[in-house]
């Protein structure tokens, strides 16, 4: 199916089990229902702009799954927003998600192409005009007006091959897709 498998005998080790990923791809091609995952998070408002969220369970491969442990995230706003700064802002979590997703993709693609990575550093910036969320100007959107990612990569590969790694990781990235394409969002409410 894929000549890159042949390079499994190569020497690069980025700590990614590409064989398992390719096996999953093959298995899930024939079992599309198992490929349907649901990712979940839950949150509790604490006080002010501080909310604490956690992730633990998710659904996939036809059954409920869970992380090895619950991961907890404090979400707040900085003091310049007259908040208490108990955690990163929600939009910073988005940037964190993008960096994590693209970097994981780079590692996997590099492993698949037998490219040894020595370092992968990313800086991610999202520009935002507060005139949107503050309702100052209806023509300004609430969200980012642009997102810029810069990768600095040390690897046994040419500049063009490194660029191709980064391009392929964007092509296969969930967070990149979530940020670049519209998503239908449903929010419901119940009174306790």
């Amino acid at each position: 199916m894929n000549s890159e498998i042949n390079m499994q005998s190569g020497t690069a080790d980025n700590g990614v089990n590409v064989q398992a990923l390719l096996g999953a791809r093959e298995a899930l091609t024939g079992a599309r229902e198992a490929a349907r995952f649901t990712w979940r998070a839950s949150s509790q408002w604490v006080r002010g702009t501080h909310t604490r969220a956690s992730v633990e369970g998710f659904h996939g491969l036809g059954e409920d799954q869970s992380h090895r442990q619950a991961f907890v995230f404090d979400i707040d706003h900085p003091e310049v927003f007259a908040a208490e700064d108990k955690g990163a802002t929600p939009v910073e979590y988005i940037l964190v998600g993008l960096a994590g997703c693209l970097s994981a993709g780079i590692a996997a693609v590099a492993q698949n192409r037998n490219i040894q990575l020595r370092s992968v550093s990313a800086t991610v910036e999202g520009g935002m005009d507060l005139a949107g969320i503050l309702g100052i100007d209806a023509d300004v959107r609430n969200g980012f007006d642009g997102v810029r990612v810069h990768f600095e990569i040390d690897a046994d590969a040419s500049e063009a091959d490194i660029a191709a790694l980064v391009a392929q990781s964007q092509k296969r990235s969930a967070v990149f897709d979530i940020m670049t394409n519209p998503t239908d969002v449903t929010v419901t409410t119940s009174k306790r």
């Binding site: 390719l22 791809r25 997703c101 994981a104 063009a160 519209p182």
Partner: protein
């Protein structure tokens, strides 16, 4: 429609479609005196007569346009045939071979029958031992479901019902898709004075000429067009790769996104949907352009490497590289449709029409399962599909090698009867080298 009184006739092979592929197969069958008919819903080369826009020319130079026993015989080997010229070329081939074409015969259903197939048509039925599907890859435009959400005031067209810019209302035009079709239509509509917005997803960038020769010449001599489906990383993907951004013109101009932007076309990301009366475009434009630029350079590297290694070094100009695709500082993400856009042209590709095929060989998405043109039903074959057996399979001259091999399989089928045989073609060992234009998918959640 009068029904033929002799409404069920027997023949060894029914070929469906009198285009270049079906006629090439017919010639191979005739050479072995295999009793067959070619059923054609319209006239010979029907789609070239009726479903092509006025300015369309082949993406390949005339010297590449040949069929078994019929070379290009004109006096402009480096030119590009118009649709009418292609139709004439194919008609000449049919006439010269005396192909047994039944024109004006629409196939209504193909179903298994004892020892073969029954082919129901509006001119009576045929019973046969083998069927060759040569009705083409472009039967139906593949248009996204979103078309239903387009405001009614906007005129929607597909490439097989678009003729020329004069068909269009005055006002803006959104062209969705940047394969050869999309870039050609965007270019001519922009030149007609209508502002074009071109929505661009993954695409294949190519210069018309490279180092003084046509890019198709390089692809041919370097063996890229002969590359076999068994040798590519991901055959599924290879068969879905859009046509390259090429146009056949006398001045041999390159029609990439930079050229379109120079002409005033606004380039935006992949069409992502309609919300609140606006078309939304993906923010992935930079990446799809970066990928196309990288793949172009990989192709040129492969050509340079081949040229450098070729024993009779060609007297060609030195290697060159093209400017990266220029994307402005903030590509448009939404376009209000009311007012600004009068027409949407869906240049989003085609799919074959198998609505009449009542044989269980289609997958869940309606695609024909086949191995190099041998369908998973004894005696059923398909021709002329993208990368059917080789990269050139969808080219006119690609029919020659595909028909030579598939007709041999078909003859074996007829010789051996229909029992206990393998429908698998031998597959080649996978090559270790990365293949141009193909990226293996890697899961990355």
């Amino acid at each position: 429609m009068t029904r033929n009184p002799a409404s069920s006739r027997a023949v060894d092979v029914v070929v469906i479609g009198a285009g270049h592929s079906g006629l090439a197969m017919s010639a191979a069958l005739a050479a072995r005196s295999v009793d067959h008919v070619v059923l054609e819903r319209g006239v010979v080369a029907n789609a070239w007569h009726t479903e092509r826009w006025d300015s369309l020319r082949l993406l390949t130079p005339n010297w590449m346009t040949h069929l078994p026993g019929q070379p290009y015989a004109g006096n402009d080997p480096d030119g590009f045939m118009s649709a009418a010229e292609v139709a004439g070329f194919i008609e000449g081939y049919a006439a010269r071979n005396g192909a047994p074409v039944h024109t004006g015969t629409t196939v209504l259903r193909v179903a298994p029958a004892a020892g073969g197939y029954r082919v129901h048509t509006d001119g009576g039925d045929w019973w046969c031992r083998a069927v060759v599907l040569a009705s083409g890859a472009h039967g139906l435009p593949a248009v996204p479901r979103i078309t239903a959400e387009v405001p009614a005031a906007i005129h929607q067209l597909t490439p097989n019902n678009y003729h020329n810019p004069a068909d269009l209302d005055d006002g803006g035009v959104l062209v969705v898709g940047a394969s050869a079709t999309g870039v050609q239509l965007a270019d001519e509509i922009q030149r007609s004075g209508r502002q074009v917005t071109l929505a661009v997803g993954e695409h294949v960038r190519m210069p018309r000429t490279y180092r003084g020769r046509d890019i198709q010449w390089w692809m041919q001599v370097a063996g890229l067009l002969d590359q076999r489906i068994e040798d590519v990383d991901d055959p599924e993907r290879a068969r879905r790769v859009p046509s390259p951004q090429l146009v056949g013109t006398a001045e041999r101009r390159t029609l990439d996104l930079n050229a379109l932007m120079d002409a005033g076309v606004e380039v935006v990301g992949r069409f992502a949907g309609i919300r609140d009366g606006s078309a939304l475009f993906s923010g992935s434009l930079r990446n799809v352009c970066a990928m196309a630029d990288l793949k172009l350079n990989r192709l040129l590297d492969a050509i340079d490497t081949w040229e450098h290694a070729s024993p009779d070094r060609l007297r060609v100009p030195p290697a060159e590289r093209f400017a990266p695709t220029r994307i402005g500082s903030a590509p448009r993400l939404r376009l209000p449709l009311r007012g600004a856009v009068k027409t949407i042209v869906w240049a989003t590709g085609f799919r074959p029409d198998y609505s009449w095929l009542d044989v269980p060989v289609l997958d869940a998405r309606g695609r024909l399962r086949h191995n190099g043109g041998v369908a998973e039903a004894p005696g059923l074959y398909v021709l002329g599909m993208p990368y059917l057996r080789r990269r050139k399979s969808s080219f006119i001259h690609g029919a020659t090698d595909d028909v030579a091999e598939l007709s041999q399989h078909l003859f074996d089928h007829l010789d051996q009867g229909a029992t206990g045989r393998s429908y698998r073609l031998p597959t080649r060992s996978l090559r270790e080298q990365r293949t141009y234009g193909l990226e293996a998918a890697v899961i990355n959640a």
